[in-house]
Every structure is written in structure tokens, then in C-alpha cells.
Amino acid sequence: MSGLLLLIPIALFLGLAGLGAFLWAMSNGQFEDPEGAAIRILIEDEGESNVQGS
């Protein structure tokens, strides 16, 4: 029983943290461009000067 008193708040906290992270990601536009995010990793930033110009 005393184990439960510890575990249940932990489980609830983790669940809430997940929900909070999801809601944050939604409002922060993290899901706006999933395909682009997957592809951007492949871009090589060799022309630094160009990038800074933007």
C-alpha cells in the first residue's frame, strides 16, 4: 500500500508530463512540417555566408 502511495503520483505525473509536452508541441508548431524536419538534417551548411545573409 505504501508503495502505491509513491507509485501512483509518479505514474500520474509522468502521464501529465507527456500530455503537457504534447500540448506544448502543438502550440509551438512542432507538427507544422514533419517531412521537412526529416529532410533538413541532410542539408550541409557549407555556404555559411549565404545563411547569415538571411
Binding site: L23, G36, R40, I43, G53
Partner: protein
Amino acid sequence: MDQSSNPAEFQTDFAPLEDSRFAVPGMRCAGCISKLETGMGSLPGVVAARVNFSAKQLAVTHEASINDRVLIAEIGKLGFQAQPLSANPLGRDDRERKRLIRALGVAGFGMMNVMLLSVSVWSGAAGTTRELFTWLSALIGVPVIAYAGRPFFDSALMALRNGRTNMDVPISIGVILATGMSLYETIAGGGEAYFESAAMLLFFLLAGRTLDAVMRDRARAGIESLLRQQAPGAMVLDASGATHWIKADDLAPGDRMLVAAGENLAADGIIERGASQCDISLVTGESAPQNCGVGDRVIAGAVNLSAPIAVRVTASGRDTVIADIARLMDEAGQSRSRYVRIADRASRLYAPAVHTLAVVAFLGWMIAGAGWHHSLTIAAAVLIITCPCALGLAVPVSQVVAAGALMRRGVLVKDGSALERFAQIDRALFDKTGTITLGRLKPLDLDRLTQEQGAVALALAQASRHPIAAAIRDELAARGITPASLGDLAEQSGEGMRGTYRGQQVSLGRPQSAENVDGSVTSLSIGDVHINIRLTDALRPDVTAAMDQLRQMGVPASIISGDRVDAVNAVAQAIGIAAQGHALPRDKIKAIEELQSAGHRVLMVGDGLNDGPALAAATASMAPASATDMGQQAADAVFTGDSLIAVPVAIRAARKTMRVVRQNFALAIGYNALAVPLAFAGLVTPFVAAIAMSLSSVLVVANALRLTRAAQ
């Protein structure tokens, strides 16, 4: 959306900033992203450029002095075609979707946590542990259900207020009843709690609804937003000779507008002074420019291409040709809005049945002397178990999967009802210009040019906005030719582009000889060498294959076009189908209505503004991505790419989808037929409800996933 507001913080140091968004369908890889972002970002006056690859869009933050046309030309130089998007194409629908997703997240969280607690109750927790867990379930369940159920409660309330009933009414009653009963049991202690059933029901139903909304938004973002800017007003010359700016709505017949080269016309009128060429592709979808001189009629929305003209307004605002066609389109679209979606048809039968069953169960147990508490519990169980959990998923999941498959093939379907209507099609009508043909001029003789001549031609062509120049530019740029550097570049109205190249006079424009009857020949001169470049409006690729496939599917096709009869017949003979020429927008609607009253379901494929009413009147309609804005708005589906094969592909995918939807209905209803007697007998415990609900949902979703390859 938050990202776009960041650059505005620096606004004080610079000229006023503006955000513009463009659809750039040609981006395919990481290279394209960096090319667009660095290429556009390094332009003077551009503060930031950001690509959204999923939506195939480019957002540019720039000084207000740069207009969209300049930016499009710059994107063109990078090798991409772009179309301007309205500032915020998403807006309200986007909020609706986000609200649903948020509710879905909350329901998912609640469902999992309550389920965790319920599993231990079912596996034999007793005494204080059981009481504690039930109380925890209530603490999580009640707020979660109150939040996640709001979309259903709102909709049910709306329906009841209007004296109707819809699927959301039994859902809401079931959820509220189950939650209320469980809360009572929790406080009184002892009985079974249904919190996890209610949360799970909401979760599955929200999943179906969210999918539906996501599909609608995704397609709409691609289509609705291709709004070309119409002229907001015009410079008007008053009696005293002064000019001032008047808004389009305030223009009156008799006003004299001055229209500079490159501007849109804000009203219909007759040319009083000047001679130019007009791009009326907005109205007809045809890109070959029309010559227009003093006394010719011009219409609002046309683009004045080469020289300034003065136009006496004959009709403005709501009286213009465009406004008239828009009205016709509205009227024609009303017949389609009467179409009832299959899910709604099902729920019309289903909702009263569910209510009756629940009431019968309640009364039956009351008569049997079970007491109101026990009877109410059983009625709640009946409502929960019959709630169209699988039914609510059956249609949207199938349609979303099919629409996703079609989207990968380049067909954007606007909503689920469009797919249902596509499945019924048994006749197809095609417009000619821009639908059977590409609707844009394609230069024929570029192979004869040397590398150097090509470079000069490209340099001349890309400095002009003329459609012929644009056609030559696109074709040359696609061949990887880099423009030569020219001096003294100048556009001479009505004649073409001039410049100097290594000391020689070069030009691209109207040929000296008189063979230029329909404006489809242009001449490239370098020094004394003159080369004529012919342009033609070619048939779309795969036209015959598409027609063959349609015939095999039992969908005979024919052409209905506003073009000259002989031009239409020539095309019709080339592809071997029947044709009707010289058809006005009203004639097209009439042809469709005649077919419909003969019992046919007609598919209209068209692109021009003149097709708009027909697109709206047909059972289902399709437009190419090159279509006019109105054409795209009126159509149920838009296909990107040039190939007409998209039409049979869409119909075939829609038919497969409906087959799967019917199977899903059978699965869902079969499950209910099994479960309802159990619920009636009072044997449905929360445990049984949870198992039955998730099993049937998984089955329906798995069946729908078979559609991933529907568009092949």
C-alpha cells in the same frame, strides 16, 4: 504560425515588413529546401525565407516595397514555379482541427490512466485499494470527459435546439449517463464504474473526427489558398484631368481607368485609348494572350500585358462578367449541398434505433422490478455498447487512408463526401482548353537553337512577364541552360524584349513577317539571324490512355467546350470521343442536368472560370492544378501534374474506398448485433465493454489500412 511573427520584432530598424506565402509544388529534396531558403534569403530586402516542406510552401518575410510578382520571378530564377497564397489560408478550420487534436490528447491521457487503475480493480483489488482507485479514476475521468466530450456535447446541443437528432445525441447521453452513474457508484461505494469506457469511447470517436478534419484541412490548404490577387481598385482619370485611386467596388460605369502594363483590370470595360495584349487566363484558362485595341471589350480580372491602356468602365463590382459567373456557380452548387454523406445516412437510421433500445432496456428492467438504479445502469451500458465507436471510425479512417494514397499520386480530394460521390460516377465531361490540352503554350522549335542562342533567348525571356516569354523561359530553364548576360535590356510594348549581346542587337518578340495570325509565333533575332519559334497548346500526356481506362470502367467520356466547334472537333477526333463545341457556361450546366435527369452521375473535369458553374453543378468534379482559382474552388478534387490519368485513378480509388466503407459498416453493425443482447441481459461489465470496443475499432482500422495502395 508563431514563427512568422518573430521577424516582426526587428521591424523598427527596417522598412515596414510583410509576409508572403507561396505554393512551390516543385520542391522535392533537401537540396531544394536549402536552394530556396538561401537563394531567397540572400536577396536584398528579404529578411527571412522559410520552407514548409510538408505543405510545399515557402514563407518570405520581406520589405513591403517588394511585391509578390518580383518574388515569384526570383523563385523562378532558382528553377521553381510558384503561386502566391493568401496571407492566412488556414484560419478557422485550422483552429477547429487543433481543438480536436487537443481533446484527443486529453482523452488519450485520461483513457490510459483510468484504464491502468481499472485493470487492477478488475484483477481483484479490494477494500480500501479498490475504493482509492475508483476515486482516482473519478478524479481523472470526470474532468477529462468534460473537456474531451465538448465537441460532441456542443454538436448534440445544437442539433437538439434545432429540433433534430444526430449521432452526437446518443453519444452525449451515453457518456453523460455513464459518467453520472459511475460518479454515484463511487460516492455510494460498491458498484461498477464506467469511467474508462466513457473516456475510451470519446478517444476513439475523437480519433475519427480528427482524421476527418485533418483530411479536409490538408487538401484545403493546397487548394483554397491559391488565390490570385485581383485588382483591389484602379487609377481613375476625372474630368479635370487629375488621376486618383478608386476602390474596385466604388467604380461606376462611365469612369475612365488607366491600366498600366502588368496590372489587373478592376472592372469590365471598353478600351478607349492604347493597344495592348490581355491575359484572360483567369476567365478562360487559356494562356495565349489576346490582342486588344480601341473599341475592344475587356473584362475584370484580365491582366494587361504589354502597354498602358485607358478603359471606360461598363460594369463594375457585382455586375461584372466574373461576378455573374460566380453567382451562377453558387446556384449550381446548391444541388450538390443536398447530397447526404453515407455516415449521416447511417446515423439517421441508427440514432433513433439506439435511443429506442436504451429506453426499451430501461423500461423492461423497471417492469421486471429491477429498481431504477439497476435499470439505469443497464440503459447506460446499452448506450455505451451501441455507440458508434467503430461506426464513427469506419468512414473517416477509410477515407483518410484513401485520400492520403491519392495525395501521393498528386490528387487532392477536398473532403470525404467528394470520395463518396466520385465512387458513383458513370459519365464524364471534359473541358478542352486547359483540361484535355495543357492550356499553356509550349515552344516547339527550341531544339534548333544552339547553346548560345538558347542562353540569349532565356536572358530575354526571363525579363518579361508575357506568357509567351514565360513559356520559353520555363522550357529553356528546364533544359539547364543558363542565361547570357545582356546589356540595355528593355521591353517595348507590343513588340517584345530588346537588348545587346556582345555588341549585337538581340530581340525576342513579334516576328517581322506577317504570319503571326494568332500570336503563337515569336521571333528570336541575334544580329542578322532571325529564328521563328512556334508555340502550341499540346494535348496532356496520357489523354488516350485515360479515356480508354474510363471506358473500361463504364464511364464514357465526352468533351464540352466553349471553344470554336472546329477546334473542339479536331481534338475530339484525335482522341476518339464525342464533343460539343461553342458551349456557354449555361449550356454546360444544361448538359449536365439533362444527363442527371436521365439518371446518370456526371463527373465534370474543367479548369476555366467558364467551367466553374458546371463544376459546381456536376455530381463530382475535378480540376487541374493549373486551373483558375474559381475552377479549383468549385472542384471536389484537384490534380497536380500534367497527366490526365489522375481522373480514372481517382474514380477507381473512390470505388475501392466505398467497398471498404461498406465492409466496415458490416463489421461494426455485426459487432453491435452480438453485443446488444449481452448489454440487454445486463451482462456487459465495464471490462466486457472495454474489450469489445477496442477490438471492433482495431478491426475497422486494420481493414481501412488496406487502402494505402488504393491509388495504384
